[in-house]
Symmetry: D2
Subunit: 133 residues, 4 copies
């Protein structure tokens, strides 16, 4: 039995569009990050608080397939599906779909890890609650 993945509803803001009249590529990473942080909140975690506590989670790899361009005024959903990519790598499958019609605009896999004071990757027990059980 599978449950629906977490998703976050957003809309394009005009300042996010570039001279081609579409959302600039870099902005999608902002959307993806924001959706992951909202996912954390849905599980009782707060990225800013984790950072303040010294739990430094960083993105180590991003694979992004841009399938179609979002434009001014478009409403969309950003989904977040966590999985372990290795013992110390927490990854997220993410998809951006237009609300009107459900067209997939972007598919991504974002791989993160936590780094300790000596710059070594580890998996903080605080993040255990993010994983499917």
């Amino acid at each position: 039995m599978t449950s629906k993945p977490f998703s976050c509803a957003l809309a394009v803001r005009d300042y996010e569009c570039d001279m081609q009249g579409v959302v600039n590529n870099a902005v999608y990473q902002n959307y993806l990050e924001h959706a992951r942080h909202e996912f954390l909140k849905s599980r009782g975690l707060d990225f800013a608080q984790l950072t303040a506590q010294g739990i430094i989670v960083v993105v180590i790899r991003a694979e992004i397939d841009y399938r179609a361009s979002l434009r001014s005024g478009d409403e969309f959903e950003v989904s977040v599906e966590p999985f372990m990519a290795s013992a110390v790598r927490l990854a997220f499958r993410q998809q951006i779909r237009k609300r009107d019609g459900g067209l997939v605009m972007l598919d991504a896999t974002i791989v993160t890890t936590a780094v300790n004071g000596r710059g070594r990757p580890y998996f903080p027990s605080e993040l255990q609650c993010l994983l499917p059980h």
Copy 2:
């Protein structure tokens, strides 16, 4: 008799915060612009469509008083109150208030005009509907 001004509900996204852990100054202009464009939509106008039609509305002056800093997770309202600052200048009084408690974070006056093909300011009749009657 006064009516409540238009306002737009937003929340801080973590990527908008800088190394001081607060929303970066420039980002507030994004919030203010987004609220103005939402105000246009509430009156049946669309900034991207106006631009595509050749109605180029530009900001010519911004006066911004930063009163307190928004932080990660803060929810806030951005208000928009239009007024004519001159025969060709459409201005907006804008305020950002925290939702929780109503603290004023920022006051601004943003002055805009439309520019025609020869770079001359004018007031397009299409914008008449934005003004209080």
Copy 3:
């Protein structure tokens, strides 16, 4: 006798342009901030280090006159002229001029203050070196 104010040479990057094909309003505040921080460096101060030391300098007011729009590829200079606006307010007159021809694109006055742990404004002695003697 007056000396030439500090200035910082920059060029527009395409991702800074919006759907009108010109630099978005909010981006100019990034340029102004970057030039101020470069000015600090020219006097031996580093904004990130000041922040790390607990010297929190914030913008409390921005007055910006947008005179003409920067476009893709434009090269420009951002000047920085500090002055005391009150006993605890360090302000900066800033101007953006196109390199080719010297056209003034923007005039601004940015007022800053430092805030202590209780949120009270003060003037840190560390910033004394920024002022003209």
Copy 4:
């Protein structure tokens, strides 16, 4: 015989850093795009002009390995090496290295294509000059 790839020298600006005190992930895509557009200029092409002529080049895939974090004040080089990934896909290998010491901060492969008026990918002859001969 191989020649040195094109590269573009940049420095971190403080507004690009986030609450962790390092450059935000999305900002690296801005750096990569800017370096590609500078590479175009080095070959006599201008992205804004191509766009104005109706030659719409879009990113369709980004693979980014984040190896170490850039911080306030860091100076770095962004390299650009074009290759054909298919008959209609122009790709770029890009690397960000710190100037001081040459540490690799990021490796990326960015795949682009041009899309015609009917949304179909093609390879515009105008871009031929970007490829190694």
